[in-house]
Symmetry: C2
Subunit: 415 residues, 2 copies
Amino acid sequence: MTGSEILLGRTQDRNSGTLARSLDSHGIRLERIVAVDDREEHLRAALADLIAGGYDLIVTSGGLGPTHDDRTVAIVADVTGLALELDEAALAEITEIVTGYAALRGVPVEPLLPGARKQAMRPAGAHVISPSGTAPGLIVPGQTTIVVLPGPPTELADVWRRALEHDAMSSLLGTQLERRVLRIWNTPESTVARTFDELGGDDHGTETSICATRLEVEVVIRFAPAARAAGTALADGLVAAFGDAVYAQDDLPVEVRVVQELDQRGLTIACAESCTAGMVAARLAGVPGASTVLRGGIVAYANDVKVSQVGVPATTIAAHGAVSAEVALALAEGARQTLQSDIGIGVTGIAGPGGGTDEKPVGLVHIAVVGPNGTSQVMERRFPGDREAIRTNTALTGLHLVRLLLQDERLSAGV
Amino acid sequence: MTGSEILLGRTQDRNSGTLARSLDSHGIRLERIVAVDDREEHLRAALADLIAGGYDLIVTSGGLGPTHDDRTVAIVADVTGLALELDEAALAEITEIVTGYAALRGVPVEPLLPGARKQAMRPAGAHVISPSGTAPGLIVPGQTTIVVLPGPPTELADVWRRALEHDAMSSLLGTQLERRVLRIWNTPESTVARTFDELGGDDHGTETSICATRLEVEVVIRFAPAARAAGTALADGLVAAFGDAVYAQDDLPVEVRVVQELDQRGLTIACAESCTAGMVAARLAGVPGASTVLRGGIVAYANDVKVSQVGVPATTIAAHGAVSAEVALALAEGARQTLQSDIGIGVTGIAGPGGGTDEKPVGLVHIAVVGPNGTSQVMERRFPGDREAIRTNTALTGLHLVRLLLQDERLSAGV
């Protein structure tokens, strides 16, 4: 991919992840990702290295804009020795698009036409993929197939999806590997890795990645149909070993699972957050359809707001301190009562960098979840890391505690 | 860097950005970033390509763990033709670290010693950089200097910082370029680019990147001391052209600026958020020291919560709909009064994917900020993108409106 902003560290590259996941799901092994800046000679050298590497497929992103400093197509033509030629159909399509743009904005179309013509050029023999913006993609057949994609992430995703459906790509698509995903909460990565080894590891044709991310270990077992028995045995062995800690066998964030389950069971939820200051509520609200379950929340940052808005007794704060299990429980119960929800979440902690003491250091958090019929979950954690890491992990733990509460049989017992 | 998780698209690479920004600030031009998976032959081929490319410096990250499948050091020794040898001082240092770990956890140290020995190996002549975890870094001198760093982001940052101070790096550090950063709010990138061209662009020795990110255009002008006059003229020209839209000349997020200014002026703030559901409050609380200015907030997701907790008149919702300028203003004023703050923020909108109508489509948001002395800022926007993009841009706009409110002279007029 190209882009000086990435090489200067000013922009995070999002296209690599999109392409990596798509390639993996289509049975194409991604072996190398290369980012270069916008200089012609650097893109040329990187492409030449990749072609010399004998890959079956190279995918480029970026450098397809209407101006002269977007040079990807010309360089691809150059390094593959193909003539650059105008694609009349592409020119017609792009001209129609920019004519529409111009009409919408009430500006003349003429200044846009040279750019449209530039974007309609292709190496001889390349297949043009319809654009999502104004830049078409290209499939350049050859010993190495080169797919040329626009850089803006949504355009890239659209054009890539269309390219995958083109006949010229069909010989590249591999056996789609099957996948088993296991997500294990609150368990050390080393413990998961040891059990994986004890179960025989990848000795029988599977390919497994074990990756510790925030508070969970994600195990992805990939296997061809021929190794299905081994893949299934490995996954089932891990499920048996870790039991309820295996909380998901899909890629969905925990808040999606929580919102869906609340919705199915007709339960509502509300939050009272101090150190996370709205992160739990915001994550729940990030799930489409959250409005059926999320009543709302109170960001009880100042102590007097905990008292006046959530009904935490001032005496509880005085006796135990604002960062205590007692206050977390009072926040959870207060959220539930004040906002008239079935379930309440309460969060309090010391996110730092200031505010820590020997007794209550930075990273100490108390999280409580309270439901009907006397159900509750409380947790004290001491999270390492900076303010953002502590707050993010605290919010995530709150969502997991809701998940655990939903497993409590008393919740729907109607006692 | 190495890491199958990145090549599978399961983990976002954070090290590239860290290194890119550091290299830039030390006058080293980063020309290529390469990511390969954990297979030995792929790392070997990528390193060979980079060495053949004639770079002055190659930095690797990852593959330094204590187990046999972390192979970076052995491969670096191999491709440079250097013998792999034990560094006694590194062995002593790592042994001390793992002995401490073992004692802390009450486990025997013996099983950890082979790993310590493996991590103490270096190519002959390489300089060892003290570890932050257990993996030391290495500086391998030569025609191309190779710096070998551990993969975990915090370890990488620490070891890299130490490596930069080593004598073996001094000849590589270039003239530190000076930088002018201009961040321009709510202005099209094409307008900024046109003005940049009219001011002469990079014709006089500057190097400028213009990058549109969320709701702002970031201009970074870099120049050697010899081109300082040109860099200054260009930056000043852009400031003159865009006036108050140039809201920052540093890299700080807008919420840092807002919290600092509120703190300096002794003002407090509170939020009442519907579609953003706590994102504005959470961003404010992300700034260390926010507790002096952030009173709290109300996540008024359900309409009856807007009425009962924030005091939005039910008649206002009935007359104008929950997504309206009137309700945004009532939320802002209600937040201010309920939570007894100087400034209130109110946010309401349709984040989608459902809930849109012809009259009020997905992406329509109303944001209001209200302060003392009759001051206020209101904005209606129609944001493109998905639920997350709409909510994130809405929260960001709320923070910008606070910034604009703080420029209102009436705010501190004491009328």
